[in-house]
Structures are given as structure tokens and as C-alpha cells.
């Protein structure tokens, strides 16, 4: 209730007219990248500020050296049917959706600590990544909006 009222008052004041969403992309499995793409692109289309903070194994989806993102073991048998269904429905690949979101203003940040742990330098990331930053930068960018953890 308090949250709703806060949102409405800010909205009416026009200071955050269309809001902000920040997505912490942590999972490194292929299935989880679909909602990342859909929600980032959808939110950007809604005129929202979109921040994506990539950490953990998800960093492997953002390297110049491409990685074959695995499916969670429990869904491996369903992966071919899913791929076929996505193709039949003309669903864009997750990175194309994220690229579209970025064209509409979304920002993508890679976690400096996990990049370091995984031996990844700034130059190892592809052009989807705007910058390599720490938690404080992301938390500040996310302030006042909604945050999703994927």
C-alpha cells in the first residue's frame, strides 16, 4: 500500500513518470536469458529506465568468446521442443531483444568482482556490456525503482 502510494505520488509529480526497472542477471542457464530479453525490451518499450547488472555464471552470455549456455539438467529433455516453439513463434533470440532494449536506452553492467573471479577483463566482454562496475554503482542506479533477480 505504502509502495503504491509512493509510486503514484512520484508519477503525478512527473519526476519518475514512467519508472525504472533494474534486473540482476545471475543465472547462467539458457532458459533464464529469455525473460531477461523479454522484460528488458518490454520495459524499455514502456519508456522505463532499464539497468541490467550481470553477475555470476550469467557473465558467460556476454563475452566476445561465445559460450554455449547450458539448460538446467531437469529441463534438458524439453530444450529441443522449446527451441522449436520459440522459432515457430518468431521469438527473437535473447541477445537481439537486449540489443533492442539498449537502442531504447537500456544499460548493461558487468559485475567487476565476478568478472575478476572468472578471469574476465573489460576487453573480454562484447558490445552488449556498457561498463564493468561494482555493487555500489548498480545499487545507486537501481535506487527508487523495481529490482528483479533472475
Amino acid at each position: 500500500m505504502a509502495k503504491t502510494m509512493e509510486f503514484v505520488s512520484k508519477d503525478e509529480a512527473g519526476s519518475v513518470a514512467t519508472g525504472r526497472i533494474s534486473i540482476i542477471m545471475f543465472s547462467g542457464t539458457a532458459d533464464k536469458f529469455i525473460p531477461l530479453g523479454v522484460l528488458a525490451q518490454g520495459a524499455a518499450a514502456m519508456g522505463m529506465d532499464v539497468n541490467v547488472f550481470v553477475t555470476g555464471f550469467a557473465l558467460q552470455g556476454f563475452t566476445k568468446q561465445p559460450h554455449d549456455l547450458p539448460f538446467p539438467v531437469e529441463f534438458t529433455s524439453m530444450a529441443p521442443a522449446l527451441a522449436q516453439g520459440l522459432k515457430a513463434a518468431h521469438v527473437q533470440p535473447w541477445d537481439a531483444m537486449l540489443r533492442q532494449a539498449k537502442e531504447l536506452g537500456a544499460k548493461v553492467y558487468a559485475c567487476s568482482m565476478m568478472a575478476d573471479v572468472m578471469g574476465l577483463k573489460k576487453a573480454d566482454f562484447n558490445d552488449l556490456v556498457d561498463d564493468v562496475v561494482g555493487a555500489a554503482t548498480f545499487l545507486q542506479a537501481a535506487e527508487g525503482g523495481q529490482t528483479l533477480f533472475i
Binding site: 518490454g42 518499450a45 514502456m46 518468431h90 531504447l104
Partner: protein, 81 residues
């Protein structure tokens, strides 16, 4: 300003799935001016509520939404940029 003189942009998103149509609408919106009318064609079954949500969020006006099977037609008037 009469209907006949209103700039009218047609956006054909048929065959594109969510969030494609709403993105196509947003891209047309970026190029539009206040007072313009955008007509969106789509087949994704979520388009009607999504266009309603988009218009509420961006505070633009829905002129009409028709959703016969196979071709949803949403007409939006741009009230603010």
C-alpha cells in the same frame, strides 16, 4: 484538427511475438509528434492488454482496439512525448 489531416502511421507487427509489437509501437512513438495517430496491427494474443498498459504508462490515448481472431488493430493518439 480533423481526422483526415491527422498524420497516421501504420505499424504492421503481425507475426511478431511479445514484446515485439509493443516495441514496434514504442519505436513509432519515438518518431511521432503530439497529435499523431499510430495504428498497430498485431497477432500476438497479449497485444490488447499490453497496448492498454503501454498507453497508461506513457499516458497516451487509446482511440480504439479491435481484436478479431488473426488481426488485432489498436489505434493510439499521441498526447505527450
Amino acid at each position: 484538427m480533423g481526422q483526415a489531416t491527422t498524420p497516421h502511421t501504420l505499424v504492421d507487427s503481425r507475426g511478431s511475438s511479445c514484446p515485439g509489437p509493443i516495441t514496434d509501437l514504442a519505436l513509432a512513438y519515438r518518431r511521432a509528434k503530439v497529435g499523431d495517430v499510430i495504428e498497430l496491427w498485431a497477432t500476438d494474443p497479449g497485444v490488447k492488454p499490453d497496448v492498454q498498459a503501454w498507453a497508461a504508462k506513457t499516458r497516451n490515448e487509446i482511440v480504439s482496439i479491435e481484436d478479431p481472431p488473426g488481426k488485432i488493430v489498436a489505434v493510439v493518439r499521441i498526447l505527450r512525448r
